[in-house]
């Protein structure tokens, strides 16, 4: 356990030292918030007592989680593999599970930074209001990070080069970005795509975070929690079987 923590702290230190690696993760959702916020404002919707930013900050948080858990994780580990850095760790010796847990910890910390930026911007610029239970909201965020990173484990275990890692990560990233209610509200989708998007863990993550944000108790979201937990378990299982060191 102490090994995993040490490696996790090291990864985070490396991230902070070279912010260009996760600049996109932090800045892209923030820019979307500013863009859409400037279009729709945050005045209450007709027949509701909350506005666009109140309802969709959770979606921007979903984009942070998606970018960190799928793109950063996959491309980061694929780069390590390509350069022979994983071989070095394998000689250490460390198990694939501890290695991936350490990476997940670093991803979680980066995502938390992204969320903090969004919360500050939402509060200062759009006077955003939060009506949920903070502890439950944090639990939903944590579980979302774990589930999405769990899905990221699969491409991260397999991609041999940074380039192939980017291709695989993008093929998961973009469908989820547009169909899971992250960049576009799901209500805008045709029925078929709505159904398809139920298969994406991010759909469940955003629905749960949005609901809790607006005041639902977390207990209304057992299905969503189960889907995200199962995604993590499945990703962990496959990574344990398939993880490549070189």
């Amino acid at each position: 356990m102490s090994k995993t923590l040490k490696l996790c702290a090291m990864e985070l230190k490396l991230y902070l030292r070279e912010p260009s690696a996760f600049f996109f993760t932090l800045i892209f959702p923030l820019l979307l918030m500013l863009l859409f916020g400037s279009i729709w404002g945050n005045d209450p919707f007709p027949e509701a007592d909350y506005g666009y930013i109140d309802a969709f900050t959770s979606a921007f948080i979903g984009i942070v989680i998606l970018t960190a858990g799928i793109s950063n994780l996959t491309i980061g580990i694929a780069t390590y593999r390509e350069k022979g850095i994983l071989k070095r760790f394998r000689a250490a010796p460390i198990s694939p599970v501890s290695f991936l847990l350490a990476q997940m910890g670093a991803i979680l910390a980066v995502s938390a930074m992204g969320v903090i930026l969004l919360l500050i911007a939402g509060k200062v610029i759009f006077h955003m209001q939060f009506r949920g239970n903070s502890l439950e909201a944090f639990a939903a965020f944590f579980l979302s990070c774990c589930g999405i990173a769990g899905l990221g484990f699969i491409p991260a275990s397999l991609a041999r080069t940074a380039r192939s890692g980017t291709v695989i990560a993008n093929s998961l990233y973009f469908p989820m970005l547009f169909l899971s209610g992250a960049a576009l509200p799901r209500q805008m989708l045709p029925d078929l795509l709505k159904k398809v998007s139920e298969a994406f863990p991010l759909t469940h993550s955003i629905r749960m975070m949005q609901g809790i944000w607006l005041g639902d108790p977390i207990t209304e979201y057992w299905v969503e929690m189960a889907v995200l937990g199962a995604t993590l378990a499945l990703g962990g299982f496959f990574a344990g079987k398939l993880f490549r060191w070189d």
Binding site: L14, R88, R90
Partner: protein
């Protein structure tokens, strides 16, 4: 406790249609510095990866420090120090951080300062990995291979790509960690390196060992003779050299008379006789055979440095 650090028998490994190991067998005693030499592509790295449990051979048996690397790889790697060819660290990781991290991953006490002094990198403790030169990276990897005070150190192509000064520095390091309790296996495609550093050497070609012994014994067995070259001018009578050289061979090559001698013991008598016959010995060279000559005799092909 068994005296062998490594027992490997009939290892075979193919990658698709390429046979990397085709019946590799050798033993390494505890406390020795054992060299695996051969041209690139001979199977040295595959052998090392198998010993460290990083690859499974298709067939054959191995015992490393009493463990089977294919089954107990992770447990084994806790006890060995491995310097791998073509491996890197994250660019931004600092030298001292790398040592602390790996000490922690091995569950060993951190002793970064001591190790950095040992490999001569103290001044680079705060440098990021990307700012190190090739030789400094190699020395850092040697330091990382030592963090767990291993019983067996495996160095894969330690000095490839380094300049002569850098190579000598690493040779000194290897000589410093010779000890009866510690075994060193090093692979290299530099024959002179193996000759200088190793107690015993396995000469590899096409995935198997073609000869194994001390460098001296290998040379005596495969290339017992010596070559004596005399720069003598075109008016030199080869008969003179033949007369003193008895039944041994002498040929003229341009301005040089080249004699194949049976062994080092006949060098002095031959020189004495040449001198007695009035031959000018101003430009006389003797050449002792090297492991490269052994490779030539053992495999029938010229040693390639590529």
């Amino acid at each position: 406790m068994c005296v062998h650090a490594v027992l490997a028998s009939d290892l075979k490994k193919s990658y698709g249609t390429v046979q990397a190991l085709s019946g590799m067998s050798f033993q390494v005693e505890r406390g020795e510095v054992f060299g695996i030499v051969g041209p690139n592509g001979a199977g040295k790295t595959t052998t090392i990866d198998c010993l460290a449990g990083m690859r499974k051979p298709d067939s054959g048996t191995m015992s490393v420090l009493g463990l089977d690397p294919s089954r107990n790889g992770r447990e084994l790697r806790k006890r060995i120090g491995l310097q791998q060819q073509e491996s890197e660290l994250p660019e931004g990781m600092r030298v001292s951080e790398a040592l602390e991290l790996f000490a922690c991953l091995f569950g060993a006490k951190p002793r970064s300062k001591e190790l950095l002094v040992r490999v001569g990198l103290s001044e680079k403790a705060q440098s990021p990995f990307s700012a190190l030169s090739g030789g400094q990276k190699k020395r850092l990897f040697v330091a990382l291979a030592l963090v767990n005070s291993p019983e067996l150190i495996i160095l894969d192509e330690l000095t490839s790509g380094l300049d002569p000064a850098g190579r000598r520095q690493l040779w000194n390091l290897v000589n410093e960690f010779r000890s009866p309790e510690r075994t060193v296996i090093l692979s290299t495609h530099y024959m002179d390196e193996a000759e200088k550093l190793c107690d015993r050497v396995a000469v590899m070609d096409r995935g198997r060992v073609v000869a194994v012994d001390t460098p001296r014994a290998l040379i005596e067995t495969y290339c017992p003779g010596m070559v004596l070259t005399l720069e003598c001018g075109s008016d030199f009578q080869i008969g003179k050299a033949l007369a003193v050289n008895g039944d041994q061979k002498a040929v003229m090559k341009d301005e040089y008379c080249v004699m194949d001698l049976a062994g080092p013991e006949v060098v002095v008598p031959v020189i004495r006789e040449l001198s007695g016959a009035g031959v000018n010995l101003g430009n006389l060279h003797t050449k002792t055979p090297t492991l490269e000559d052994v490779f030539l005799v053992a495999t029938g092909k010229e040693y390639s440095h590529e």
